[in-house]
Amino acid sequence: MAKFQGVDYFDTDSLLSEEERMVRDTVREWVDDRLLPVIQEAYIERRFPRELIPEMAELGVYGANLPEEYGCAGLNNVAYGLIMQELERGDSGIRSFASVQGALCMYPIFAFGSDEQKKEYLPAMARGEVIGCFGLTEPDFGSNPGGMITRAVKDGDEWVINGAKMWITNGSTADIAIVWAKTGELDDISSIRGFVVPTDSEGFTARDQKGKLSLLASDTSELAFHDVRVPDSALLPESGGLKSPLKCLTQARFGIAWGAVGAAMACFDEARSYAGERVQFDGKPIAATQIQQTRLAEMLTEITKAQLLALQLGRLKDRGSMRPQQVSLAKRNNVDMAAEVAREARRLLGGNGILVEYAAMRHMANLESVYTYEGTHDIHGLILGQDITGHAAY
C-alpha cells in the first residue's frame, strides 16, 4: 500500500510545529500500515476492528490532549485534531471510536470527575483496557437532549437508573458508560447529572442496532437501564445541568471538524490518482478532461478552506478562547464539505466508485452519519443563527 503523501495546497504544514507534524506523521503511517489493510473487509463484515484497540492505545491516541499525569500524551489541541484527521482518513468509524473514548468518556471524567474517578479510570482508558461509551441521546430525544426521560433516583447511598439511550457508539464494546440522567423532575434540565456506569451492572443491557447503511465498521447500540443500581461514587460530582454533556460534545465536535477533513483528503487523493490512470476516449486519462479537472479543483479548494478553518479553530482552543459556536461552524462546514467531496469522488470513479475496493463510497456513506450526529448540520445552523441574531429558533 502506497504511503499517503498528504493534501496540502497552501503549505499549511509550515504552520505546524515539528511536534505537531511528528504526531500527524506517526498516526498517518499507522493508518497506512495497520488500518487501511483491514478496513474494507471489516466494513463489509460490519465489524468494528477491535484488534486495533491496543495498538491505538500504544500509540497514545485515547485522550491524547489530556495531561500526562493521567497516563495520557498531553498533546495540544492542534496535534489532537491532526490525530482525528488521520484516523478519519482511514474510516469515520475508527475516528468515532477514538472520539468517544477520549472526548466523550475520558474528558467528562477529567472535567467533572473526582480525584478517585480520574485515577481509577483515566490511565486504564488511555491504555485501552477500559472502553467507554457515552449515553445522552434517547430514542425520542435527539436534537433536544434536555427532554430526556432517563432518571436517576437516590436510594440510600445508591442511585437507581431507569431509561434508555440510543445511537450509542461503542455501546456493546464498552466496559463503562457515561450516562446522563435527570436526578430531579422531568422538566428540570438543571438536574441532569453524569454517572459512570459499569456495563456489567445488573439491569444494564446493550443491543446492537441492526440495519445501518453507514458507519458499518463501528458498533452502534441501544442501551437500556432497568433499575440499574450504582453507588454514590459513580456520580460525576462536578457535573450539573445540560451544559455538562454539551461541553463533552464541544470536545468531540472539535475532533469531528478535523476528522472530516481527513476523510475528504482520502477521497480527493483517490480521485486524483484514479483520474490519472483511467483512460477513456482516444487513449487519454480522464484527468485530461475539463469536467474532471474542475471537479478536482472544486474538491481541493474546499479541502484547503476546511484545513485552514480547522487549524485556526485548534489555535483558538489552545489559546483558551475558542467558543462553542465556532466549533459549530467548523463541524457544520467541514462535514458538509467532506460529504460533498466524497460524493464527487465517487462520481469521478464511475462504476468502480461503488466498490469497497475504493474508499470514496465508504466515506460517503459514513459521512451521512457524521453529518447527523453530534449536532445535526441543521441544528448547528440554528446555533449559529442564534449567535448571529440573538434569537433562539429551536
Partner: protein, 249 residues
C-alpha cells in the same frame, strides 16, 4: 549496556527528487525528509537490547545540517535516551570524512555496541559503518538481521546471498543492521512529548576531504511497453523477443 546508534536524515523514499542547478546535489525544496529506514532497524535493535537487559542507554548520533536535529528527535521519540548532532554545513559529504568525524566523537565515549543502518537510502554507499569500526579498531559485521549478546560477545545472523551466515564478535563492536528481526516501532505520542525533554547536544564539526560528487543524473525514463500482437498467434513472436531481446527466458 551502552549502545550508540548512528543515524542519517534522508529524503523520503516516495519523495519526487529534482536536481539542483549545479547537478551535484538534490533540490531540497518541497522534499520531505525522514529518518533513514535502515537506521530505524538499528534503533529498534538497540531499544530491544536495552529493554531485554533492563538497563543501559541508547544514544543516537547524526552528522548533518541543523535540520538533522528533527531526525534525532524522531529517534528520541522512539525511545532513545539522548542525542548528539555533529553539525556541518557540508552538503553530501562522502563516506570517509563522515566516518572520521563520527569516529572522532565516538572514540571519546564509552560504548559496548555501535549500530548503523545497512546503508542510507539516499546515496546507497554502505560505507560509513565499516569505516567507523575500522577507525575505532573494533570488530564489525554488516547486513545483520538479528543478534544476541552473551558473555561479552555478540552472535549475529548476517544476510548473505541465498541464505544466512552466523558470526561471532567480541564487544565492543559495530554492526550494520538490515531488515530482519527488528520491525521498527512507531514513536508513541507520549514519546514525542518526552523527546522534547531529552538531552540533544549539538557540536560543530569540520570535515576533511573526501570524494567529490561530479554529477548526479536521474535514471533513464522507462520506455513504453510494446504490444506484439493479439491472441495465440502472437505467442511465438513474444517468446522470441523474451529470448533474444529481453533475455529472460
Amino acid at each position: 549496556m551502552n549502545i550508540i546508534v548512528c543515524v542519517k536524515r534522508v529524503p523520503d523514499s516516495e519523495a519526487r527528487i529534482q536536481l539542483s542547478d549545479g547537478k551535484t546535489s538534490i533540490d531540497p525544496t518541497g522534499v520531505k525528509f525522514v529518518l533513514n529506514p535502515y537506521d530505524e532497524f538499528a534503533i529498534e535493535a538497540a531499544l530491544k537490547q536495552k529493554e531485554a537487559a533492563g538497563e543501559g542507554s541508547v544514544t543516537v548520533v547524526s552528522l548533518g545540517g541543523p535540520q538533522s536535529a528533527e531526525t534525532l528527535r524522531t529517534a528520541l521519540a522512539m525511545g532513545a535516551d539522548s542525542a548528539v548532532l555533529l553539525k556541518t554545513s557540508a552538503e553530501n559529504p562522502s563516506g570517509l570524512p563522515v566516518a572520521r568525524a563520527l569516529a572522532g566523537e565516538l572514540g571519546g565515549r564509552e560504548y559496548d555496541l555501535i549500530l548503523f543502518g545497512l546503508k542510507a537510502i539516499d546515496d546507497d554507499q554502505h560505507a560509513v559503518g565499516g569505516m567507523v569500526a575500522e577507525l575505532l579498531d573494533i570488530p564489525s559485521a554488516s547486513a545483520v538481521t538479528e543478534f544476541a549478546i552473551e558473555d561479552g560477545s555478540v552472535r549475529a545472523d548476517r544476510e548473505v546471498e541465498g541464505g544466512s551466515e552466523v558470526v561471532e564478535l567480541s564487544l565492543p563492536c559495530a554492526l550494520s543492521i538490515t531488515k530482519g528481526a527488528y520491525e521498527p516501532r512507531y514513536p508513541s505520542l507520549k514519546g514525542i512529548m518526552a523527546a522534547k525533554r531529552k538531552p540533544l547536544e549539538e557540536k560543530e564539526v569540520s570535515l576533511g576531504e573526501g570524494n567529490e560528487t561530479v554529477r548526479l543524473a536521474p535514471p533513464q525514463e522507462r520506455a513504453a511497453g510494446r504490444i506484439v500482437g493479439e491472441g495465440p498467434d502472437a505467442v511465438p513472436e513474444l517468446i522470441r523477443l523474451l529470448r533474444e531481446e529481453a533475455k529472460v527466458l
